[in-house]
């Protein structure tokens, strides 16, 4: 190790220590084959704020997002907590393979990033990022997001319980996969069952179209 290298390392440390507010360029990509994301909400917030946490019950605000695709509650929750909030950066639905990019300037102390959007068509599945610590060092960071189950609605997979089928591919006449909620707490989504019968079977989802595997979204964060 030469002195030159140590000096370089020292300078990096100095810059990161003096950084206060940061400018973030965030890109969210829908990695799924045929699932839509409802309007996204993203926020930079402090350590005491969160929009969801696995193994604990969903807030009413998150329930609204996960079941109806309505981000207003989560957005309000973040705003009331002094977060820097971005609402609906894609200006509507984000289809398979699509990306949305937005700028987020986080205030001093808002060092954690959270993101959520409902997955359609599902009962209460959502993509989520819970309190990812924003790096102080400049660079490009990639985070993969999983599909969560809000635990607030039984995954019956029936069209009546699913707010929209943006692909126009809703089935009918399904008997319902289940009427039970396995756990009322937020957890990794067990996935969609679906069936191959558009006019019957157990589900109004299509097993060859509406399934997914994790991760379901990619988040690229450029810290300047």
């Amino acid at each position: 190790m030469t002195n030159k290298h140590l000096i370089a390392a020292g300078l990096f440390g100095l810059f990161s220590a003096t950084a206060q507010a940061q400018d973030l360029t965030v890109t969210l990509t829908n990695l799924t084959h045929s699932i839509y994301f409802t309007p996204v909400v993203a926020g930079a917030h402090d350590a005491s704020t969160e929009i969801f946490e696995t193994t604990t019950p969903a807030t009413p605000e998150l329930e609204l997002l996960a079941e109806e695709g309505d981000f207003s509650g989560v957005s309000g929750l973040l705003g009331n907590a002094g977060a820097d909030v971005i609402d609906n950066p894609a200006g509507g639905l984000l289809a398979s393979g699509e990306s949305t990019t937005f700028l987020l300037s986080n205030s001093s102390g808002n060092d954690y990033l959270s993101v959520a959007a409902m997955m359609l068509p599902t009962n209460d599945a959502f993509i989520g990022l819970d309190s990812w610590e924003i790096p102080s060092e400049a660079g490009t960071y990639t985070v993969y997001l999983n599909a969560y189950d809000a635990g607030t609605e039984a995954n019956d997979e029936l069209a009546d319980s699913i707010p929209a089928f943006p692909g126009g591919d809703a089935g009918t006449g399904g008997a319902g996969v289940t009427t039970e909620i396995s756990t009322p707490n937020v957890h990794i989504h067990p996935g969609v069952i679906g069936d191959a019968d558009a006019e019957g079977g157990i589900s109004d989802l299509d097993s060859s179209v509406h399934r997914w595997l994790n991760p379901v979204a990619k988040l690229t964060v450029v810290v300047e």
Binding site: S96, G97, I193, G194, A196, S208
Partner: protein, 240 residues
């Protein structure tokens, strides 16, 4: 000036590693500009029942074999529907060097490929088909080699992508691999490549195999061909 900043950045990375790894190579700042380079790559098939088509490892400084959200190239369509990497090798302009496995990788096994070049390179990439599928593939896209010092290793886990060029019907007529062929009542192998694009025509993550055991009665595939992510583990060691 550019060279210096690269060296400095690499050294910062080495410092961070030194905190948790006594074997960290403190000479990394100089070794990254040594030439030529050679990488020994161990590829493990982690799946239950998906043969991985013969991988061709590519070294390159620019370009990408695919982008999620964009249509697959014709070369990638051929690879994802049939396992044939020949057009990837012949039609990809940015390849500096390549090395191919002599055969596919059976589930639960691994293979080792050594790839080299006469000068330092920026990226390693490869794509391989999941053989018992319509158009599922896996691989690595632009793995950055610039900070990998001599004798250092890095391990990556790969996921399954869907080329989006063929609908995931899983039928005996459209899936080419051994599972489908075994299920064929007339012994005729399922069609591999077909230039028609009857799916969403963009590359995405793969939604998984449904299978006849899971209610898709027209599927030639069973529980045994289902997979989840990750599908491969790839360890790259710089040997020169």
């Amino acid at each position: 000036m550019i060279k210096f900043s690269k060296v400095a950045l690499a050294t910062v990375g080495a410092l961070a590693l030194a905190a948790c790894n006594d074997d960290s190579d403190s000479d990394s700042a100089t070794s990254i500009i040594e030439t030529p380079v050679e990488y020994e790559v161990v590829l493990k098939n982690l799946t239950n029942g998906q043969p991985i088509s013969p991988p061709s490892l590519l070294l390159h400084d620019t370009g990408a074999l695919f982008t999620v959200g964009e249509p697959a190239s014709e070369a990638l369509e051929l690879l994802a529907e049939s396992g044939d990497a020949s057009e990837i090798l012949s039609d990809t302009a940015f390849i500096l060097s390549s090395a191919s496995a002599s055969g596919g990788i059976t589930y639960g096994t691994s293979t080792t490929i050594t790839v080299s070049y006469t000068d330092k390179v920026k990226y390693l990439s490869f794509v391989s088909m999941l053989g018992n599928s319509n158009d599922a593939f896996t691989g690595l896209n632009q793995v950055d080699l610039t900070d990998l010092a001599l004798n250092d290793s890095a391990t990556y886990q790969t996921v399954a992508y869907d080329a989006g060029t063929e609908a995931n019907t899983e039928t005996v007529d459209t899936v080419p691999g051994p599972a489908s062929n075994a299920a064929s009542p007339d012994g005729i192998a399922g069609e591999a490549f077909n230039a028609e694009r009857d799916d969403i025509d963009i590359v995405t993550m793969h939604p998984g195999i449904v299978s006849s055991d899971d209610g898709l009665t027209t599927s030639a595939l069973t529980y045994q061909q289902k997979f989840d992510n990750p599908v491969m583990s790839v360890t790259i060691t710089r040997t020169r």
